[in-house]
Symmetry: C2
Subunit: 477 residues, 2 copies
């Protein structure tokens, strides 16, 4: 698996990505067009992502449930924009139990419609509100050019769906969940994302407003890493989700939805990875620590392994992998665990046993500068500190990289140049025609309007008209 | 929700079940034929089941992964029995991305085929073995007569798939996982299951041997609550799963699969429920304790709620629901939480505040006999004891009920009578024709051959021929 050298990021970032995903044993292609197999190492990473997000959802008052994965085709047609947006991507079940179905069923691409139907059935009175349900599951959107984690026909995600009595509450929920995503990305995945509103062109089909977190990948392209939608009363009207208000009037609910998916894994790979492979953030890594014992003969082995046992006993609070394979050299193992992104490697040989030490090698700092001797006394404290230093370090590095690669574009020429190797922030008149022209000329799309930058006004970077919106343009995954 | 009286179990067990599932807010029917919506309360129960099973799988050396939910139709045809067994139940995707597919894809009814394909790709050498992967997900088997949790077109489950170098290892794995299921059922769900081998007729399509755990429901019908299959080399040969042995010969692997599903929830309902509704085992209940404050006016309220806060602070290790709804009477709340099966109710009124006490009402013992005063001192210890007593109590009750309703059948007439209101254990020649006759005459099917009862021999209860197998017959879900 680890024999051949990886293509370097500079040489071909896209090829580097494909190699890392497969060689790090995160995922594999499947015989089903566009669908991936998430391998145990990749799924363990997703389980860590899930556990932390789920805790955040529950802390903000949400509960989990499960809705059918098949949705009657007619449901999509109830919301005009929704059907337009999703029809081209549907996988359709036409036969069941050996018979042709009266009405075809779509494999869910997202569940606003079926959940809307159920909410209409469940919600009667203002006392039933808010309803705040999340679902963990798989969805399917037909993809012509699949890429593991980034674009696959089937992917795994969570989708939150809430219903409220007022617009204000729905808006508060929408922004709360955007902040949950941003906090998660920053503190757990060490991804310094930017938050903002999407343009009309880029918003979710059926939403009033879509908010996103946008991350910069190692090639400076953008990745939309999570979205939160204020759906207004669009789905409430389409599915008749109504409640009786305290003064006995029948009102439509205000709904939201929000999702984060296995794309996040692609984002982590492309934010932190380097030419040696994956670099995983300690807070999410399936293994935070790999221990490689070093010995030349049975006598050394017994001394070293006894020491390894003592070290392991001190590290029970961490996710530790002991690589005790006998058929491989330590050097091969270093290479392999670097490729697989384990944040910290501990090497223990006969000299370490003698000196009561352990050699620690940080994944985020290659070679000698990342190595240090730790004492075997109070090892857990030292390791905890090191892992935190790594977590903080890769976040700081990613943030510096991002900030160095976002530039203000004052002219169209500047914009064109900047988006070749970074993100441009520029005034924009709000016209979809300008977005389309920029996309055609540069392949850059609008990412989001940073909340903090929406003051003052200027001239649209494309058409020169008065503009009150400032938006990021960049190439994106 | 809790207004009307439940149909009693005696009157109509099946109707009682349907009412409990819906009124206890566990699940609902969906607009998609045969598919259910698992509501938050039901899903929380499933999450507790999942968490405990997942821990057991990981402790026995398994890892999780995810395989595509769509499977090329041709894959099913590679294993003769498998295709025969599952073809009639498939939901088939014929269109994707607006186009008719060259090859239709089935929504997975189980994943032996797609996982077999991937294992053939991944497994090269004896060093790669064993492979022990589990998958949590949804599957679909078209159902003509759906019942919530028991038989739905889409259901949720886990499926373990392992590959080994020898038959013995595969057999050991098969039995290990059967035991994991049985231990889980007994210790967590308080379901005293019986373990054994299925008949050829009742085994999994494509298996060499299927082992099951069988539980007795409150109406004495059986529920197959988990299965573990030794697949021999059937799937290895169908999918070409081979490994290079230490002496360089190319050998087929030996594979197993095993699964437990949301059916288990139906099993819990029908094992412990009574005429007041659900009775949940404390170890799996979404809420182990519900606290109902009692007060008549604001003065009482402030005294009582202060006490409730103190009580809650003592009970942080438990899953506690505080029912502080003001628009409902305590009596209404008691009724509702009984219906929803919360193991322990704590009532706190002004007198309890005065006396430093709490009234505890056990769900498993209705009325006064189940009530006791607890001191507010050391409350956690008392509650922990009570919950354990409840867990043990409902297991003992279920075990007694089961044992009282299993009878030895020595003649065909006895068999016919016994299966009207229980399980019959009887000698059986092993002939499928006898199974078919018994099923036609009595609606009873063979459940499993209890490992511990397979000694000696007798005459087949149906045809009178020599018999060396003893098997359970009963009606089943």
């Amino acid at each position: 698996m680890a024999e051949e050298k990886l293509t370097s990021q500079k040489e071909n970032f896209s090829e580097w990505y494909n190699q890392v995903v497969q060689r790090a044993d995160l995922a594999d292609y499947s015989p089903v067009r566009g669908c991936m197999v998430v391998k145990p190492y990749g799924w363990a990473l997703w389980e860590n992502i899930k556990a932390d997000l789920d805790r955040r959802f529950k802390e903000t008052g949400h509960v989990n449930a499960a809705f059918p994965m098949l949705i009657p085709m007619s449901f999509f047609e109830k919301e005009k924009d929704h059907v337009e947006g999703f029809s081209p991507e549907l996988a359709v079940v036409t036969h069941g139990g050996g018979q042709e179905l009266e009405e075809p069923l779509a494999v869910r691409p997202t569940s606003e419609t079926i959940i809307g139907y159920m909410y209409a059935k469940w919600i009667k009175s203002w006392r039933d509100l808010p309803v705040k349900i999340n679902q963990w599951g798989n969805v399917m959107r037909w993809e012509m050019r699949p890429r593991l984690f980034l674009r696959t026909a089937e992917f795994y995600w969570q989708e939150g769906h809430t219903a409220h009595a007022t617009y204000e509450e729905a808006q508060e929920e929408t922004l709360q969940m955007l902040n949950v995503y941003a906090d998660f990305a920053r503190s757990m995945a060490a991804m310094p994302v930017l938050k903002g509103v999407k343009s009309e062109t880029e918003k979710f089909p059926g939403a009033v407003n879509t908010y996103s977190i946008e991350a910069m990948m190692g090639d400076t392209k953008a990745l939309q890493a999570g979205t939160s939608h204020n759906l207004g009363q669009n789905f409430a009207k389409a599915f008749d989700i109504k409640y009786l208000s305290p003064n006995n009037s029948l009102e439509y609910c205000w709904t939201t939805s929000w999702g984060m998916s296995t794309r996040m894994i692609g984002g982590i790979i492309m934010t932190h990875g380097d030419d040696n492979g994956l670099v995983l953030p300690p807070r999410l890594a399936p293994y935070q620590i790999v221990i490689v014992p070093i010995f030349k003969n049975d006598a050394e082995k017994s001394v070293v392994m006894e020491c390894v046992d003592k070290v392991m006993a001190q590290l029970k609070e961490f996710r530790v992998k002991l690589d005790d394979r006998t058929e491989l050299t330590p050097g091969f193992k270093y290479h392999e665990w670097e490729l697989r992104g384990v944040p910290l490697r501990l090497e223990i040989g006969p000299k370490d046993v003698e000196k009561n030490s352990v050699m620690a090698a940080r994944r985020d700092i290659p070679g000698k500068p990342g190595k240090s001797f730790l004492s075997q006394d109070n090892l857990a404290d030292q390791v905890r500190d090191l892992l935190e230093t790594i977590q903080d370090g890769i976040l700081a590095k990613a943030e510096k990289f991002r900030d160095e690669n976002i530039h203000e574009a004052n002219t169209y020429d500047e914009l064109k140049e900047i988006v070749e190797h970074g993100w441009a922030e520029a005034w924009w008149c709000g016209d979809a025609a300008c977005e389309a022209k920029i996309k055609a000329d540069t392949k850059a799309t609008t990412r989001c309007m940073n909340f903090e930058h929406q003051h003052g006004h200027g001239k649209c970077v494309c058409c020169g008209k008065d503009a009150e919106k400032k938006i990021y343009f960049s190439k994106a995954y």
